[in-house]
């Protein structure tokens, strides 16, 4: 899972693009324009490295924190088959985090530093995971529709320019198709079930619609455009483009189940072929991303607990002569 690179911070930290070697920069850009991948040992501008670390790290945190709202339902899953499937999905998400941390590591930031920055709130993760999974149906909505949004984002990013990130995403996307089928099956099961099962699903959809609309990040007209990031194939589609793609693929499927989407203005404009909708509350989005959501504290506290309680085991296994080397690919 993953919310889009929602905030591209423009700061003055590090080397500015004007200070880079113009010949090397031109070679680098030509390589990307030819569709070749950049590998960890290649020369790259500081800004490229910085934005990629930020994006891949944010993606990794989203996977590992994203495992929490669903993970909490493993013990209460309805039936053995659902329990096994949910365990498998949650394990996949943690595995995705590890693949992504590894990709970010190749750019020179250690896993220790990344976990540290997650715990002290310096780096973000997808905003949707600051909302609780109130009922079993919430986990169904997450597995179907949040993962669906994530897949659109991940398939898009897998065509990017950085080799290790593309390779990790390829692995991840293959597993996401199971998540999507599992989530869809779970939702359909409730939607075609008893009146109270249907109501549980509808309530969950009502709760999750705003986070779903937030998922791909602020609308293009208010978010910072990264022309350079597009040119460098770090960002490959705008937030609104990905949101449109999501609506196009999933609104008809939601309606088919007889569910109501809590936005009376949602419709496809037959002339433009684009979906029109009520903008979700972007102030809420900013407030939650900055720490004031219903579950921000719980997510970090649980992650911190796991980190601290597991440390003695890791330290007991650590051999004195061990040395860290940046992974190759």
């Amino acid at each position: 899972m993953y919310g889009n690179l929602t905030i591209i911070e423009i700061d003055n930290f590090g080397k500015k693009i004007e200070e880079e070697d113009p010949i090397k920069l031109a070679e680098f850009e030509a390589r990307i324009a030819r569709g070749e991948k950049i590998e960890p040992q290649d020369w790259m501008p500081f800004e490229y490295r910085k934005q990629l670390i930020r994006m891949i790290e944010q993606h990794a945190h989203s996977e590992i924190i994203g495992a929490l709202p669903e993970g909490t339902w493993i013990t209460r899953a309805p039936g053995f088959k659902r329990k096994l499937a949910l365990m498998a999905k949650v394990q996949d998400e943690v595995g995705h985090a590890q693949l992504l941390y590894a990709a970010a590591e190749t750019l020179g930031k250690s896993r220790e530093e990344m976990i540290q920055d997650l715990l002290n709130g310096k780096s973000k993760y997808s905003n949707v995971f600051n909302y609780p999974a109130v009922t079993w149906a919430d986990t169904a909505i997450i597995a179907w529709l949040i993962d669906a949004g994530a897949i659109i984002n991940q398939v898009t990013n897998s065509k990017g320019s950085y080799g290790p990130y593309c390779r990790a995403l390829e692995r991840i996307c293959a597993e996401e198709s199971f998540h999507l089928r599992y989530g869809y099956d779970t939702c359909v099961h409730l939607a075609t079930g008893t009146p109270s099962q249907r109501k549980m699903l509808q309530d969950a959809l009502n709760r999750w619609w705003t986070p779903i609309m937030h998922f791909h990040g602020p609308p293009d007209k208010i978010s910072v455009h990264g022309e350079k990031l597009m040119k460098w194939k770090v960002k490959l589609a705008s937030n609104d483009e990905m949101r449109q793609q999501f609506l196009d693929m999933y609104v008809p499927k939601i309606w088919e189940l007889g569910l109501e989407i809590p936005d009376p203005n949602l419709h496809k404009n037959p002339e433009t072929g684009k979906w029109e909708y009520t903008e979700p509350d972007w102030n809420e989005f900013m407030r939650v991303i900055n720490g004031d959501g219903p579950c921000n504290k719980e997510r970090l506290a649980v992650r911190r607990y796991a980190e601290e309680k597991g440390r003695w085991v890791r330290m007991a296994l650590l051999r004195k002569e061990e040395k860290y080397v940046v992974p190759l690919a």
Partner: protein, 162 residues
């Protein structure tokens, strides 16, 4: 303040709401191992990624969980990242052929047939005996065959042979 969660298990461990004291020590996540898997007997082992692990045995265990929990695999290798020696992308020109290396390739020997034809023709010229009807038809046949034959050039483009 303690964290209030919908999950009773989280309430039971009474997590503090504010705590910013975690400091992750260096080597907390150990070193990395490069992982290679073999999908079926007879296949080459292929690099698939890394795992963080404290020793080779655990690296194999984590590699199985990470890279073989679903996809087909019959064998795994792990190698400490520190033990891998690699060429540099900056030196990629060492792989460029420095001169014509056609002598290394099968397509470098495509003129063999032409040589035979030339040899036969020259031999015929040297002894201009009155051709018999059977030798004429043979000659016609062979020249027709040569003109039809297509030769694949170095670039992979099919060249009609004159």
């Amino acid at each position: 303040m303690k964290i209030q969660s919908l999950d009773p298990r989280i309430n039971r461990i009474e997590l503090p709401e504010e705590n910013n004291n975690t400091r992750i020590p260096p080597m907390d996540q150990w070193q990395t191992y490069e992982v290679f898997h073999q999908q079926a007997r007879g296949d080459q082992h292929k690099h698939v990624g890394i795992v963080h692990a404290p020793n080779p045995e655990m690296a194999l265990l984590f590699a199985k969980e990470q890279y073989a929990r679903r996809s087909q695999c019959v064998n795994l290798w792990v190698v400490r990242t520190a033990d891998v020696y690699a060429t540099s992308y900056d030196d990629a020109d060492i792989f460029e052929p420095a001169f014509d290396k056609s002598y290394r390739e099968s397509w470098g020997y495509k003129d063999t047939r032409q040589l035979i034809e030339k040899f036969k023709k020259e031999k015929e010229m040297a002894s201009p005996a009155t051709p018999t009807s059977s030798s004429i038809s043979e000659e016609n046949h062979s020249s027709e065959e040569t003109s039809k034959k297509k030769v694949v050039g170095k670039s992979g483009i099919i060249i009609g042979k004159k």
